[in-house]
Symmetry: C2
Subunit: 353 residues, 2 copies
DNA sequence: CTGAAAGCGCTAACAC
DNA sequence: GTGTTAGCGCTTTCAG
């Protein structure tokens, strides 16, 4: 049974690919209407289905020319293998490991939302998603057919390892040279800064969680850079112990108690932290946004009602991740995408009095 | 294509069923070794596969006797339909909606962990799990083949609706008369109380989140009941605005500031809240467990290191939920299970000084 | 009321 | 190198 599963396929209806640089949908696809099978590809490429299967599964014994012909047919038809059929035939589903870095907290809203959106993706149907912990050696503890990596740091051993072993994977985060997706955190930081600047808040503090996370680092970078570009005084950084509401709350309370307040706005690195910030402000008798404006980041549903924030399109990130995963499984060209973010103005930010 | 999907099947290897009252694994299953298919059932029941399919899918036109024969064959062989095959044939996967009550916060660690364990269940392979929000009318916003209900309250409209329409579902929570699974929250509350009582803590406070949640209500009930049974003074209840660490923290801080501390231990309704409680204690200069013992509930990984807590076996709950879901899909007898919890003693509880 | 048979889309073994 | 073919386990006509 099952030998090499690398060429494993993903389902996926057809049309819309978004946020990629690629041309919209493969043209020909719409032609006949729907559901292109391996047969269609074979016909189009003028070969047998066996051959198509071989190139898709990276099994050798196919001449370069035929291979090219097949690949192009796949491309133009917008063919996506049907996993149910594959699973039935293989007697085994395609497994995908959701791998978080060692010590990376998995119980975070972002991961949770990502997971939900992942499930909502038709293209992920039938993929056997599994949460795979990472050992102290930095490698995933379980062998899977492919991986989605979260919380990767600069020289994450998982990347080298997976690359070396030729295991398909996509990184959720920012990284050139590997298949990756992430929200444009830096641009988000800038948007927050520009919004606050426009409102006249030249003195601000940025509540964040240190540099452990690349995303958070990027947000801070963007925020600071925009202030610098505007010739405004650099925002003060206030570090919280962790990324929780409680952590931000305590950091804020401590800060408010220890010094004269010299700012009129705070930018929290996440919505959760913004919740803590607002609670602290409120406990200190400060009104939001009258006394202090607050801007969050993520636009998490169910978190921070009415909060002005930077919306991150997690659904799009998840969708793209699945898309990239599929490309990894069928050995297409590596690409890396950055999903745009946007400012959502709600009730917690206002002009400086 | 697809008409009635009610009889939809679940995958599921074979052997172990746990925590149910049912006899271990269907005897005959082990006989030939593995992988019983619809063919085996047909042979065993001395009918054709077509007939087996018919009874499984609740499609009429089968005599009561044959139906019975088939059902019993299914039972003794431990047959579980193969979803991949079904999906292939139906041209459509079996969809399962994860439905949370309206207003029920989905970004909670419990839900998150449950989801992870759900994915880890082989028997859930290929089921198309989807997060389905609930509208203000109290009903799931999307039509699915089956549902898993979370956060159901006393007369949740979803239950009546689903029952009426004959849609298969399982409730994650406590409820007689419907397929349901949940941890034994009340027993957990008792365990916490008994532990504290044993350590000599006759005066305690229970930090909880009001009565909105049945689970939390049960925990409180068990806790209070055990104190009453022991003839000890009733624990004082301290309500937090929400179930978060921040909420518990603020409630504790407020409480510590407003009155003389008359207790030597606190039982928090969740590990998260315990984290908040401990932070507040620490900020007040109190040592845990030297000055005050703290007991949590859930035993969430990555939350509250070293916390004495009541472990809830979420994996078992998830596993059972899938099992019940499968039973619902194949129209078996309704049953409802309660998963045992246990006390995990770690460093936050100690004898009263 | 029940059996037989044709696929669903794909993989893999076996020919050519 | 490439085509052909036999299933994978199930649903669903179509006969009887």
């Amino acid at each position: 049974m099952a030998t090499n599963l690398d060429g494993a396929p993903l389902d996926g209806s057809s049309s819309d690919r978004q946020a990629s640089g690629s041309p919209v949908a493969p043209a020909a696809a719409a032609a006949t209407g729907a559901h292109v099978t391996i047969h269609d590809v074979a016909t189009a490429a003028a070969v047998s289905i066996g051959t198509v299967s071989r190139v898709l599964n990276q099994r050798g014994g196919v001449s370069p020319v035929t291979r090219a012909r097949v690949r192009s047919a796949v491309e133009t038809l917008g063919y996506r293998p049907d996993r149910a059929a594959r699973e039935l035939s293989n007697r085994r589903p395609v497994t995908v490991g959701l791998s978080t870095a060692f010590g990376h907290r998995r119980l975070i809203p972002y991961f949770m939302l990502f997971l939900e959106h992942l499930l909502d993706e038709p293209a992920s149907s039938g993929l056997r998603l599994r949460d795979v912990p990472t050992g102290p050696d930095g490698l995933p503890a379980a062998a899977m057919d492919a991986y989605m990596l979260f919380g990767a740091h600069a020289d994450d051993p998982r990347i080298a390892d997976l690359n070396r072993r030729g295991v398909p994977f996509v990184l959720v985060g920012q990284r050139e040279g590997v298949r990756s997706v992430a929200a444009d955190d830096e641009a988000g930081g800038r948007l927050a800064a520009e919004h606050l600047l426009r409102l006249g808040h030249s003195h601000t503090v940025h509540v964040t969680g240190g540099r452990q996370s690349q995303a958070l680092g990027d947000r801070a970078d963007g925020f600071l850079a925009a202030y610098e570009d505007a010739g405004a005084p650099p925002p003060r950084l206030l570090a919280s112990d962790d990324l929780s509401a409680l952590g931000a709350y305590r950091a804020m309370v401590r800060d408010l108690a220890s010094r004269e307040r010299a700012y009129t706005a705070v930018f929290a690195a996440t919505d959760e932290m913004a919740v803590g910030v607002m609670a602290a402000l409120s406990d200190a008798g400060l009104k939001v946004p009258a006394d202090v404006s607050v801007v969050g980041f993520d636009d998490m549903p169910e978190v921070g009602d009415g909060l002005t924030t930077i919306r991150q399109d997690i659904a799009a990130v998840a969708r793209t991740a699945v898309e990239l995963l599929h490309e990894a499984l069928t050995h297409e060209r590596v690409r890396s995408v950055r999903v745009p973010v946007r400012l959502i103005v709600r009730g917690t930010s206002a002009g400086r009095r």
